[in-house]
């Protein structure tokens, strides 16, 4: 395993009487994408703020790029990039000026700053919008520019705080591809998200936070195995087929449960590939399928399974 670029050990953060983080530890090796999964108020953003030197921890230690975030904050700032939940770009400036400003602040000459800005605009497909004020950008463009701004200095570690929240599906996939590319180029990524699907697609390791504590960590496969079931929901074309359908599936060892509507049934399956099995069984039983849906376990399922707590609970104040 490569040396950790981000290392948090028992990090505690209190705001008055409220404990936002209750001893969180994680370790992210070079060039890997680490997911921080949790609902609003779980403490994800607080941890990101501590690791990016915006907040000081109340207890525990955190090192980024090998430097202590409190004692060596200046060195940490030299090697990180942060993209927050809201675009950290200047709306009054255009795309190119935003990137060039960041480069100038990092010590680039005017010429170097412009070159780096153009390079990143190209990379993030923003060249056409380079001279438009950011005020006129769409949500997806803004987010891309924001990520680009975090990358101007070629940081070794980048923090992405809910980079896809509020984006449409297309823009979301664009951001995902960017993140994958970052890791391929050797950047270590800490990504916070509320979506298990996103963490599953991108991350090598996932830490699940709930109310400021780590409730699980591992790779996505381990996590999902722990959480278990994906569900296939079949809506039948004819209500009277229900009995035959359930019987056929159960004969094949699949536990099917008719739903209250009387036209749909649901059954747990191990993987998406098992959909085909369900379809074949039902067609062999001469039952006609009107609709087919497959659902991955959600963060709610993870929470329910791991914490046995009702979901969507805010941090106790």
């Amino acid at each position: 395993m490569a040396k950790p670029m981000i290392q948090a050990v028992d990090v505690v953060k209190s705001f008055g009487d409220v404990k936002a983080l209750n001893g969180v530890s994680l370790s992210v090796p070079e060039g890997s994408i680490h997911g921080l999964l949790g609902h609003n108020g779980a403490g994800k953003t607080t941890l990101v703020h501590i690791l990016s030197t915006l907040l000081e921890p109340t207890g525990g230690t955190a090192r980024v790029c090998g430097y202590d975030v409190t004692a060596e904050a200046e060195e940490v700032r030299r090697c990180i990039g942060l993209t927050g939940q809201f675009a950290s770009v200047d709306e009054q400036l255009n795309g190119r000026e935003n990137l060039a400003l960041v480069a100038r602040l990092l010590g680039a000459s005017r010429r170097q700053a412009l070159a780096r800005a153009n390079e990143l605009l190209e990379l993030f497909e923003l060249t056409d919008a380079a001279t438009r004020p950011v005020l006129q950008y769409s949500g997806g463009m803004r987010r891309r520019l924001d990520i680009a701004a975090s990358l101007v200095g070629g940081p070794r570690v980048i923090f992405l705080d809910e980079p896809t929240t509020g984006l449409d599906p297309n823009a979301r996939i664009g951001v995902w591809e960017t993140i994958e590319r970052l890791a391929k180029d050797g950047t270590s990524v800490l990504l916070t998200t509320q979506y298990l699907e996103e963490a599953d697609r991108l991350c090598e390791q996932i830490t699940v936070l709930s109310a400021g504590s780590v409730v699980a960590d591992g790779n996505p496969a381990e996590l999902k195995a722990e959480v278990g079931e994906r569900l296939v929901t079949v809506t039948l074309a004819t209500r009277s087929d229900m009995e035959a359908a359930v019987r056929a599936l159960e004969a094949a060892g699949i536990r099917a449960t008719p739903q209250e509507s009387g036209t749909a049934l649901s059954a747990p399956v191990a993987a998406a590939a098992d959909l085909a099995v369900v379809v074949r069984i039902l067609s062999d039983a001469h039952t006609e399928i009107a609709e087919l849906a497959f659902s991955e376990p959600t963060l709610d399922d993870v929470y329910l399974k791991l914490t046995h707590e009702p979901t969507r609970t805010p941090v106790p104040a």
């Binding site: 942060l82 602040l105 970052l182």
Partner: protein
Amino acid sequence: MTVIDAEATPRPTTRPTLSVSEEWGGSNLLTQTLALTGRSVRPYLQPGVLIVTFIEPLVMLLMFGGVLRALGDTVAPQGSDLSYIAGLAPAIMIITSVAAGAQAGNGLINDLRNDVITRFHTMPISRFSVLLARSLADAARSLYQLIAVAVLAALIFGFNPPGGILGVVGSILLSLFVGWSMSWIFIALAAVLRNGDVLRMITTLCTFPLLFASNAFVSPESMPVWLRVVAEANPISYANDAMRSMVAGQASLTELLTTVGVSCVLVAVCAPIANRSFKVL
């Protein structure tokens, strides 16, 4: 050939082989301040904003020129034969620059609401440069207005004082400096309070007495005793005296040094408070 082409146009990458601290070596306070001032000045450069910014001193000149003149010729320094406008123009200048300085607090609050400041705080730059840039951006706006006051006063009221162009330029610069130093009061307040509503109330509460309990419009001799004490201690009165002398062609080194000294004390007290309280979270 292919190899050379590939080297000439390298594939853009998210991450250059060298990290920036190695390649670019970081920036100094001057570069940071200039780059950030350029950013903060940007909203002021929109045509609409430029026009309104220009109209502000025009309205003040016309208003005070008309209204106060009706009260009688009370603002010229004792014993001088300055024209009414020559006595009024410095007062309008100091109002203008103090108002611009007070605006710096709101500017900082707006900046704090904008997440770009969060980015600056995660970068290897001086946080003080962000505040310095804020104060300089409002000083730049103030300079534009001060020039407008001088030009409009000359065009509309025939402002052509004995102190000549040198006296006028001197007044503009002194006024600029005083306004800039006062902006640190409001930047410090904004950094400590971090609340736009409270800040606006305090700003209004401070600026009115500062402006009116001074010798800017009415000579303190005609004020009740308690108000006269305030007016004579008011830094704006010092500035005003120094500027009127310059405009009259009788610049006084004592008045100048006193004014600059008071302003420097203001900055020396407020800037460190602002810097220490300046946090994004």
